[in-house]
Symmetry: C2
Subunit: 311 residues, 2 copies
C-alpha cells in the first residue's frame, strides 16, 4: 500500500523578512512527500534535470520515500522558482519561473506507482492530472490541488478532472473563482454536487475548512510566533491530510476521518513554515507531530456552558 503524488520537483530561491536562500529543494511533490512520508510509503512522480544531485534525491527519500518515478531528463534543468515575501509574509511576489524539464512533462507512472492506494494530484495541467488519475484506477482515495491559472485557462478540463476525484484542496478564493459563488460555503456546496466526497478550503495563515455532504469543519492554523518561509505550506498541508487518510486504511472515507486528517495537515503545514524550504520537515520527529496535534486540539476546544440569555 502506498501514496503516489504527481507534481513539481523544483529548486526555489526565496527571500523573506527572515533572510534568503538561493537554492532550496522545493516543489509541490517534494513538500507533499516529506509530509506524507510520516504516514505511508510515498512515491513522487515528477521530472528533474542534470542539476538534481544525490543530496537532493536523499532528501526526497527521507523516511523511506521511493524515488523510482522521479524522472531524470538528460540535458535538462530542474524547474526553478524565485520569489520574495513582503508585508509580514502576507504577499508573495514571483520573481522568476523557469519550467525547464517541467514544461514537457508527461507523467508516466511505473506499475508500482499506478498500484497506489491513495493518489494526490498536485497542481499541474488538469488534463495531465486526469491522465494520471485514469492510470491509478484502483486508488481508494484521490485528492487534487489546482490554481487560478488553470481556472482561467483550462476550466473545462479542470471540471472534468475534479469530477473524477474524491477531494479538492484549494484556496478559498480559488473555490469562489471556480464556481462564481460569492462565499466559500456556497462554492463548496456547489462542488460537492459535482460528486466530490470532500472539499477543503485553505485559508493561508488563518487555517482551513472542510466541507462534506455530512457537515462543515473548520480549523485555525497553528499559532506560530515566528514564520520563516511560507513556501510549500499548502503542499505540506496536503501531505499531512492525504497521508493521514492513507494511514487509516480500515476507516470509511467520511467526515470524521477527514476532520482528523485536517488536524494532521495543519500540523505539518505549521512545521514547514518554521524554516526555509524542507529544512524543518526533513528532521521533524513523530513526537513533535503528535504534540502539535494535541496542542491544536487543546487550542480549539471550548466547553458549552449553559447560559440563560435575555430575550
Amino acid at each position: 500500500m502506498s501514496v503516489t503524488v504527481v507534481g513539481s520537483i523544483a529548486f526555489d530561491a526565496v527571500k523573506t523578512p527572515s533572510g534568503s536562500r538561493d537554492r532550496l529543494l522545493g516543489g509541490a511533490a517534494t513538500h507533499f512527500s516529506l509530509a506524507a512520508s510520516f504516514f505511508d510509503e510515498v512515491r513522487p512522480v515528477g521530472p528533474v534535470g542534470d542539476d538534481f544531485g544525490p543530496d537532493d534525491l536523499a532528501t526526497l527519500q527521507t523516511r523511506g520515500t521511493i524515488t523510482d518515478d522521479v524522472e531524470h531528463v538528460p540535458g535538462g534543468k530542474t524547474f526553478f522558482w524565485a520569489g520574495e515575501y513582503h508585508d509580514n509574509l502576507n504577499r508573495r511576489e514571483t520573481l522568476q519561473t523557469s519550467l525547464n524539464v517541467f514544461e514537457d512533462f508527461q507523467p508516466k507512472l511505473s506499475p508500482a506507482a499506478q498500484d497506489c492506494d491513495v493518489l494526490f494530484l498536485a497542481n499541474i495541467q488538469p488534463d495531465l492530472q486526469l491522465g494520471v488519475r485514469e492510470q491509478c484506477a484502483n486508488a481508494r482515495f484521490v485528492a487534487m490541488d489546482s490554481m487560478d491559472f488553470w481556472i482561467n485557462s483550462a476550466r473545462e478540463a479542470l471540471e472534468r478532472t475534479i469530477r473524477a476525484v474524491d477531494c479538492l484542496i484549494l484556496n478559498d478564493e480559488e473555490l469562489e473563482q471556480l464556481t462564481g459563488q460569492p462565499t466559500t460555503v456556497a462554492a463548496a456546496q456547489e462542488l460537492l454536487g459535482w460528486g466530490l466526497k470532500a472539499v477543503v478550503s485553505k485559508h493561508g495563515k488563518y487555517g482551513a475548512a472542510l466541507f462534506t455532504e455530512e457537515d462543515v469543519f473548520s480549523l485555525p492554523a497553528y499559532p506560530l510566533e515566528n514564520v520563516v518561509d511560507p513556501t510549500g505550506a499548502g503542499d505540506s498541508f496536503a501531505g499531512g491530510f492525504v497521508g493521514y487518510v492513507a494511514a487509516q486504511r480500515d476507516e470509511p472515507l467520511g467526515h470524521e476521518l477527514f476532520k482528523r486528517a485536517m488536524a494532521y495537515g495543519t500540523a505539518l503545514a505549521s512545521f514547514n513554515v518554521e524554516e526555509f524550504g524542507t529544512e524543518r520537515v526533513t528532521r521533524l520527529t513523530t513526537d513533535e507531530i503528535s504534540e502539535r496535534v494535541n496542542d491544536l486540539h487543546r487550542m480549539t476546544q471550548f466547553d458549552l456552558a449553559p447560559l440563560t440569555l435575555r430575550g
Copy 2:
C-alpha cells in the same frame, strides 16, 4: 449590574453585492449594544443629532438597553459613514465620513453609566477612551477596540490607554502594526506584557484568536453561505464577547471564561452580517444564538485518535 459602551452611533449608507441601503442605523456603540443586550443591561454613551428619530432610539433600546446616556446635540447631525464592499466583500472602500456631532464628542457619563460592572471602549480617540476608563473606576472588566489611524497618529496615548484596560480587541494586522512584531502571536505576547489579561485578534471572515498568559485559543468564523453586509461585524463580536463576560459575574476572568466568550462573539458577528445594518440582530432570538454556538462547537471539535507515525 450593567455594561457601559462608549462609541459612535451613526447612520451608514452601504453598498454590497447584495444591494444597497441609504440610511441604516449603525456605529460601533449601536452594533455592540444590540449584541451585548442578550447578556446584560447595556448603556450606550454617544452623541446623536437632530436627524436621530424615535425609531432609531427604539432600535437602540432593543432588549432593554438604556439610552439615558445617548446625548442629543441640538442643531447637530448624526455621524454619517458611506462605504462600498468589493471583491466578494473582501475589500471595503470608504466613500464618505462625516463626523458631525461626533467631532467634538466629550464623553460625560451619568452616575449609572459610571457605575457599570463591565465597560467597552469602542474605537474613539485614545485619550477620550482613557478618560472614560477613569470615570468607571469600579468596573470589573474593561475591554477596548482601536484602529490603525490611532496607532499612527496617537501611539503614546493609545499605549497609555491599553495599559489601563483588561482586554484589547483588534485586527491581527493592527496588533502587528501596534507592536512592530511580524506575527500575531509575537504581538500578543508583547501586549500581554503591558498588563492585559487578554488579547483578542480579529481575522475578519476567518475568525479570531484569544491570547492570555495561560494559553492560546483560536476559533474560525461561523461558515455562512450568504453574507449581505459585513458592517459592524467586529462590534457585534465585541458585544457578544464582552456581554458574555458581563453575564458570568461569579467566574474568574481567565482563559476558560474568555474562550466561551469568543464563541458567543463569533455567533453574534455571524448573525450581524446576514442582513443589512442592525436588521438581523434586532429580531434575533436567544434560541438562534444557542443553536449557533452549539453548531460552532460541533464544527470545531475533532477526536484525538491514536496513530503510529512512521519515524
